[in-house]
């Protein structure tokens, strides 16, 4: 997904001389080498200095530029939190903070490299918008949006590498709107980000079992498409939320809130990371399973 981000950003940068990328000793790889070669003035590597990464991006935006700040998710948001809050959100600047390798993707690197609570943290700040694409193709759409919008700051939560494209047959991507990857009438699975791959597997299993399944990418976490979620709750017998995020402040509690507000009558099950640091150094899937997120467990729980 990071390579796709690079390609999309490079394409946008060719068209717009105001696009900058400020990185903190972490490069998106791939096409970004062309970006840095062709536009060295607009590729800024601050080194391991994330506070400066955000502050400099803010300064660029204050002079009318359209900067992206890029590093591993935890360092893009947690380390420079006050800069994100004050410099970007308080001043409402169109800076995209790219959090790469979000969730527990960096499984073997331990909790210091995990972002289990980034949606909650970023979402609590006024003016901050949040997009979490589910596959490389959606990442391209999201990056284009970030490169052209002037509304305010965006936290772009992306994966790392090797994600399959899941949205080939999906409806068009639209910022702030749920995106149905497939439509059904019995069960609706709401998810976002890299864990959409697992959501797709579960949807496939349910379909094999005779269920008519909707699979939805809730790529825009803020502003959340509340009406879209309300509609999903009204039109399905069962709604399932699957997210790679802590139980607090993510899609699951917000969906429950909407369900309460509209007096939804469907069954609602939510599956999230646990509210704990889990010391597991296996694969991404291993760590998700340690948090209780696996197709097998979820299929049993929703049966």
């Amino acid at each position: 997904m990071r390579n796709t981000f690079s390609e999309a950003l490079y394409d946008e940068a060719k068209k717009n001389p105001d696009i900058y990328i400020v990185v903190a000793d972490i490069s998106p790889g791939g096409t970004i080498a062309k970006f840095s070669t062709e536009y060295p003035e607009r590729f800024i590597n601050v080194g391991v200095a994330e506070q400066s990464m955000i502050g400099i991006a803010a300064g660029l935006a204050l002079r009318g530029c359209q900067p992206f700040a890029y590093t591993i998710a935890t360092f893009s948001l947690y380390r420079p939190f006050e800069m994100v809050r004050d410099d970007l959100c308080y001043q409402n600047l169109p800076v995209t903070v790219v959090g790469m390798g979000s969730g527990v993707i960096y499984s073997t690197l331990g909790g210091t490299h995990h972002t289990q609570e980034d949606i909650a943290v970023a979402g609590a700040i006024p003016n901050m918008q949040i997009i979490a694409p589910c596959d490389p193709a959606e990442c391209t759409e999201a990056t284009r949006h970030c490169a052209t919008q002037k509304v305010g700051p965006i936290y772009l939560r992306i994966g790392k590498t090797g994600e399959p494209n899941l949205t080939k047959d999906a409806e068009p991507w639209q910022f702030g709107k749920l995106r149905y990857l497939r439509r059904g009438s019995d069960v609706c699975i709401l998810s976002y980000g890299v864990i959409m791959k697992m959501a797709t597997q579960i949807a496939d299993s349910l379909a094999v079992g005779g269920k008519s399944v909707s699979l939805v990418s809730c790529h825009t976490l803020k502003p959340l498409d509340r009406e879209g979620i309300a509609q999903a709750l009204r039109t399905h017998k069962q709604v399932i939320v699957i997210e790679e995020h802590a139980p607090q402040g993510g899609l699951a509690p917000q969906t429950k809130q909407i369900a309460w507000d509209i007096k939804a009558t469907c069954r609602l099950d939510t599956f999230t990371l646990q509210d704990k640091f889990i010391h597991n150094y296996g694969s991404h899937d291993d760590l998700l399973a340690a948090h209780g997120l696996s197709p097998q467990r979820i299929l049993v729980a929703i049966a």
Binding site: Q51, G55, C65
Partner: protein, 274 residues
């Protein structure tokens, strides 16, 4: 880079800073909180920047930028912006009132304010970003900023210090309002390793000089005579609460406003200074 060398009138500056201090004193009677000591500490610095160094886009030319990194000193910026007509008298009189637009720290979106500051250690990185944006657009804009002693204790300031020189930013002129005072005492006592400052900046690849921060002509000359091939840090030795005897180097005047008697005494002292 054109910085108005040889165009500085120190006598006129003396009148201006006295006028600004009186105006700040006047506003102080309307509110409880003012940061008056902090504003008086950097009065000469900010005056020289606005009235002696910055180009204001005259005849369609360059418009330099000022960013008040030590946001708590913003009363002097407001007073200057009012005199320049950027802020109205009504806006100034509405300082820290429910219907006013001006608070104790500069807010982005207010007339003449380039960035929201107040939290310490944010301004220098934003100034570096602004300078890079201007350089990228092939403009000769100079970004001026004023920092406090406390800001030089923030790690983020040293990150930005490293960035400015590493990225070859030449169009950046920073001042530290080095009054040696913080909430819990003198910086030289609480953090003796804070000093020397000039040598630290030189080691970081900046040009740096020390000046008397209340000598307007010296401040002006320090900038006007810079080589211009590196970012410049002017370490301005200042006195907190400068100009009012009972405020000078008394930490309580970081925040509180004078009562009526104190106001009268301060006014007399400012009158006598002319």
């Amino acid at each position: 880079m054109a910085t108005g060398k040889n165009a500085f009138n120190a006598d006129a500056a003396k009148l201006r800073v006295n006028r600004y201090r009186k105006r700040i004193l006047e506003v102080s009677q309307q509110v409880q909180a003012l940061h008056i000591g902090s504003a008086y500490s950097c009065t000469e610095i900010v005056d020289v920047v606005y009235n002696g160094l910055m180009r204001h886009g005259e005849a369609g030319g360059t418009r330099d930028i000022f960013l008040m990194s030590k946001g708590h000193g913003c009363m002097i910026q407001y007073a200057i912006l009012e005199e320049r007509g950027t802020l109205t008298r009504a806006e100034m009189n509405g300082y820290c009132t429910p219907t006013g637009r001006l608070g104790c720290h500069p807010d982005h979106g207010n007339p003449g304010i380039e960035a929201a500051t107040g939290a310490l250690g944010h301004g220098l990185a934003m100034a570096v970003g602004m300078a890079l944006a201007e350089r990228g657009r092939k403009r000769d804009t100079i970004v001026y900023t004023v920092l406090s002693d406390g800001e030089l204790q923030e790690g983020s300031t040293w990150e930005a210090t490293l960035m400015a020189s590493s990225f070859g930013v030449k169009n950046l002129v920073a001042f530290v309002d080095n009054n040696d005072f913080q909430s819990l005492g003198r910086t030289s006592q609480t953090h003796p390793s804070f000093y020397p400052v000039v040598e630290k900046y030189l080691a970081f690849g900046w040009e740096s000089v020390e000046v008397d921060g209340h000598d307007s002509a010296a401040i002006h000359d320090a900038v006007a005579s810079r080589k211009g091939d590196k970012p410049l840090m002017v370490v301005a030795k200042t006195t907190k609460g400068k100009g009012i005897s009972y405020m000078e180097n008394v930490p309580i005047w970081h925040y509180r406003s004078p009562n009526k008697d104190e106001y009268q005494q301060a006014l007399k002292e400012l009158e006598a200074a002319l």
